[in-house]
Subunit: 315 residues, 6 copies
């Protein structure tokens, strides 16, 4: 995608290129005339824009989070730059742009990661575990392709939920090879299910951006929703009672500490391991993200989510 960066534009310059609509709101000016107030981004920075000649039939098709092609002139207004939109149209499949270029995204496509997860499901040998997991993954397939793992914390990426899951599966595979007492069936199932109900805990756009928590998310959370969901799926696929209870236990214990939402601490080895694989994947992500912004030999600012640590980047 070859186009001028928004932050390179100067007053009076004309811009033409693809941008993502962060917000798109109809407003009424002091003179009573309608116009549209827009925030656009090209993934590097944001800029305010205005569509002064609002026409309902023409502009009502647009809304926030759409990818559009746009032409406009940059104007200086009150110490900052603003774009006066002259042309706007939706991006089309044939356009040389991808949504991943405009929002923080997992390094693989949802389809690829889903295929990885499903390959692990196939490796689950115990039928009822495999049926139960497949049942739930199939149920949420469409949203899984882009769902993030969080609103703001680790893996708050487009596709972050699958990315977190599929990376943890690799860790699970490695640990089963070292600690042969582990039953991979339960560990793989636990990894795949542990955050799955985040799909009902939060509302996400297709861009993987969480607008808010849902009512059920706030009142119950993905852990309890997850246990209920396993209970239902278990009944559906006719799973053994032990199978259902153990998977529910993995859900309700994977946060480990009561103050982080665990109702039980893990009571069998696969549940214990699930917790550590989850922590490792979250922390490797967080460290990576925080350290991306410092030079070798330097320290980050205090990271609130990491006990206020300042992280060091090795020279």
């Amino acid at each position: 995608m070859e186009q001028k960066k928004l932050f390179e534009l100067a007053a009076n310059e004309v811009f033409e290129g693809y941008v993502l609509l962060r917000s798109f709101n109809l407003k009424t000016g002091q003179t009573g005339k309608n116009y549209i107030d827009v925030t656009v981004t090209d993934a590097f920075s944001e800029m305010n824009a205005k569509i002064w000649d609002y026409q309902e039939e023409k502009h009502s098709q647009f809304k926030a989070n759409m990818l559009v092609k746009l032409r406009g002139t940059v104007v200086a207004w009150q110490n900052s730059l603003q774009m006066r939109v002259e042309r706007i149209r939706l991006a089309e499949p044939s356009d040389p742009v991808h949504i991943e270029d405009f929002v923080p995204s997992a390094p693989m496509t949802g389809e690829v990661m889903l295929a990885m997860v499903e390959a692990f499901i196939k490796r689950i040998r115990q039928d009822d575990i495999r049926f139960l997991v497949q049942h739930l993954v199939t149920k949420y397939k469409d949203r899984l392709l882009y769902w993030p793992a969080a609103q703001a914390n680790h893996h708050s990426l487009r596709g972050g939920l699958l990315y977190h899951t599929s990376t943890m599966l690799r860790g699970a595979e490695a640990m089963c090879a070292i600690y042969t007492q582990l039953n991979p069936d339960y560990l793989y199932a636990g990894v795949i299910l542990h955050d799955l109900e985040k799909i009902n805990e939060m509302d996400s756009t297709e861009l993987g951006i969480v607008s808010d928590y849902t009512r059920n998310g706030l009142l119950l959370g993905h852990i309890v929703q997850g246990a209920i969901s396993i209970a239902e799926a278990g009944k559906e696929v006719g799973a053994d009672e032990q199978t259902i209870v153990l998977l529910e236990h993995m859900l309700i214990s994977h946060h480990y500490e009561p103050e982080f939402g665990a109702i039980r601490r893990p009571m069998f080895p696969e549940a214990e391991m699930l917790h550590y694989l989850d922590m490792i994947d979250a922390r490797m992500f967080d460290f990576d993200k925080a350290l991306a912004e410092v030079q070798p030999g330097g320290f980050t600012d205090k990271q609130w989510l990491l006990h206020n640590r300042r992280l060091y980047k090795i020279k």
Copy 2:
């Protein structure tokens, strides 16, 4: 029931009366002969007893927790008294004894308390709440009549679960009259459901004595089991989604503090009130029980379950 108390017996005295079998175990003596080792209680104290002339056809019908009529002679053996059983038969309906006389029991019969609970259910105006609650109470009716509320703590009585529930309902009624913003439908439902899954969390004899926690009780606990159970019942009776979620929330928040098993803190007034009614009823029971053993003006020993407090009995 007029019979000599066990603790009044002296060596060589003959006892005849009703006792509860606490334990009843076949053993083999040093000479290779079988005998039965029994612990009997008359609710005031326990005594060891032996059936030396074991006969399978005659004695295999007895087991722990049965109420029997027994005749025997008291013998002194190694600094303590023991009973040599001479006759034993099961208590019969026509015998002038009741199980409540031998085990700690709620002050009302299960039937009376259940009727009280059901009267409250009828007062729930919103149909789906009422249907859901009635569905679960009906499901557990038989066990509810004698189920205790705990293995060792508050309301570890025969019928303790219903006693705890029905007393809390009276508190709920009073609070709804004072705090008129409360919706009695949710509060009554929450009270009735909050501990109901203790029926699957623990195994209890019909005497209301808990032998142990169940597998599901240990791995999930009555809170999560309760939420799942509400989800299932809600589907069964076709309850509104909000209804189900709010009742589930009441379950998972009623312990209030994460370290006591709460997954959420209460997020609407009825859930908040449920917690306090639960605490009050538990604490009034605990104080009463602890103070029963001291004289006015005296202090109890340190009560481990009450932050090691020593309680005072007002003169």
Copy 3:
């Protein structure tokens, strides 16, 4: 009170009506001329106002928290509206306004609530308890009529202290009916005395607005002040030593947790119950207040005083 709301006023409009003076400060303008800077409120919103023609003899009688009748013209100044005061006089008894209309107040008058409290005092059967409680209530009678229960938290209303106390007394009455082991004499006394020394802990205007904590309030707090006050009153009325010690204990234990200022945890049932009645009344107030601002089916913002919970309003 029929008058235009302050937030309905437009520039150049003339306002005439009753307002409360939130602040009233003499200032000196850049030209060296004195004027008065005022903040007025009609309970719905606030507006800044100026008295440009300051005259000491005329204006020195006014100060913050007075109710006045005022006439002025609205002027626009630097993006906001301001009132130029033309006439101002103190509200008089014959004016059709009440202070309760201008500040957050308990839903009953202080006189009515005090009568309720005194009715409960009469029901205390044990003489020395009744004398002691009456002694202290009489001592603080005047201030009790309008004193709030807090600077910012629960029951920070004009008359909030009596409102909190009288509502708790109704709860106490209900609980004594259910838990008959409770001695109502101690419970009623405890309820009435538990926060009474807030009268010396904070300074409040007659509007029930707390300006600050007092020296003694900061160095000792109402709990210790309360215990000392009971000691003195007990001596005064010749109370039995046990009576005094038990009431003192109720004071120093009613916050329950050391980190909230409790010196002992409650050691008899009436002290235990006092704590829960206090919590319930505070929490019902807090929930009510927070939920007043949201629509059914909606959530409040995070409530800092309630462990950062977001509360839900049932549809």
Copy 4:
């Protein structure tokens, strides 16, 4: 005091000497005959003793904690040695023994330590502080001479309360010399008053052995009792209100942490310093006591009262 140590006695030996009666209880033997079961100590070890020829007129004058002269024969009984008492009489003033030789005692007499404390009181320059402190010390003078500072922890010695107080006064004096911003009047007063109400918190024999906590001690504790006591004394001597409040504040803040009973943290420098002087004196005592039992280069067992530390004795 030249007499054989109890632990040196062998079976059949005759003992004659002074011992302290730890316990002295009338019992009835299996044959129905009365005898007295005694525990005696010579400060080095304890031994059980029996008075078989119980005579009421002769033996009813004795009770626990008395110092007696005793003659008896050592007999072996069930793997241990026991003394058969042949003669017993109360120790008399002319006997060459002192109570301090038999119970753990402060290294100075109560009279000497009290004189030290009173010398410090005289150095308090502000009249009302000095009056108030003197008033309370005078009130408790008699018991102060032998009162311990605790039942089991630091300074659980005969005279331990005065020992703790007078040592802290020396620390206070030193600190006032280094930190000249400190007002010695308040610091000395705070030191003298801080634990004074332990006199009403516990019951102690004249041997400085605490039998139990009192009702008021359990329900209120010495901190709250102390604040009340200062309030009363302040009124008595007509102290300034600030003086009273500050001394009360020192009392209620000297334990520093809420979980150790502090109601406020110290809010002025003298209160802050009081806490540290108290901690230092307690800890120096505890370390000394624990280390007395180990060899240079060795470690003590885990000290439960010191966060389970094992202490090291420097070689």
Copy 5:
């Protein structure tokens, strides 16, 4: 090793076989004669034994933790069995027994595990890290072959320290493959060094049994000793200052939480990962050990070291 198990022996039976001396103490009987009191074990159970004909020249060569061949007769004494030793000699290299058969040991020999560790050291690419690690491993080589990782907790096995280390290295290798941002040099070094100073923290016999903590272990602990040891080794091999500081940081942060002895929380990804690998290996060991004692479908007792959890063994 074909010999009768100690727990299979009956009174009067003659035993001949190899046993480990758990204790071996010279005592003096009531008659004044010397004998030796021994505890022997064959790894399945322990038995008390006596050598009644003590002869200094013959028996002074034996002491606890030696492997011996022994013949004796089983005698019944006071409700338990005891062995009267008739012959005893040290086990010789040619005897068909190994020390590993008598004490809990790692599943590989020390030599094999050390070779694994050294293979990882060779894979460290950065010279100064490799030199430093090799320097310390070489220094402790001899003791490493049998040193346990703890006195009582996880990996309290003969060779447990190397077993813990080498298993963690396999985990480190797997994690570096998944999280490619990790620098294996630091991670491998951190794993190898993290517990190395346990060699100076505790005293262990060659059987891998810890008798006690050392003075330095108690006063400093292996974490601080480890940091000092890295500082010294770093100087020795001329390591870069950053290298030394980062390895020291890994040591002082690997316990993660201050209350478990961490001085810093991990501040770079390799230090973070080290902590989780350590936790995983410890927990897999603990779960395995605890679950070894229960049947499928059963629960262990409460595990004190695992937050009192009862663990479940999957059916």
Copy 6:
């Protein structure tokens, strides 16, 4: 130093006097011309200043934290006053100003305080302790003369580290006189060494102003650095192993609580005392500083570093 205070200056006034350069940065104006933006202070307030006629040869010698003589004219610009610098030169030894007048400084010179510390070193009787301490003090002598004890908290003064140390030594001396079981050698050594490595933990200018923590300070902290430093110095001077270990232990235990960085709690009396002396000196400083800003009878604002206490200044 007689010169007009910066805060007394009015627009258009000419200032001449000594100021400290807080910052001194070359900037480029909108017209492309270079100028210098300066912040100056006279210890009472700060003022922005500009050097418009920037000349490299003339101005490149200046930088932040230098003391200069300056002449300039005060100009009003955007609601605030600014100085246009006309002349600037470095302060010279002959100028009548001292750096202590411009930055918060200890009340004694570094030289005097160092002499005090060295006098205490001489009083250490045990050779290896004295050698070790002297070795480290000598090593850091130059920086000690001005080094602060903190970036923002207690003793963040020029010379604060020595001030804190030397005051604590006086406390140590007093405590050794009262608690004669203390070994002054260890206590004095512990006091002198306890914060010494703050010299490598933070970077300080010669003004005693900390710019930031160092890499080693962030990754290790002064406690671990201190232990390592003692290990090295101990080797250097040939100290006894016990000496080294005990001093290291004092370092790692002096923060007492794990959450404040203590690795061990103090395990011998001198280590215990060190902690309290440290706390006392820090707290006396903090109280003094906070109370400096209030009137007698008044309260400070909440002090975040002192558990949010509001401190009271006695009337």
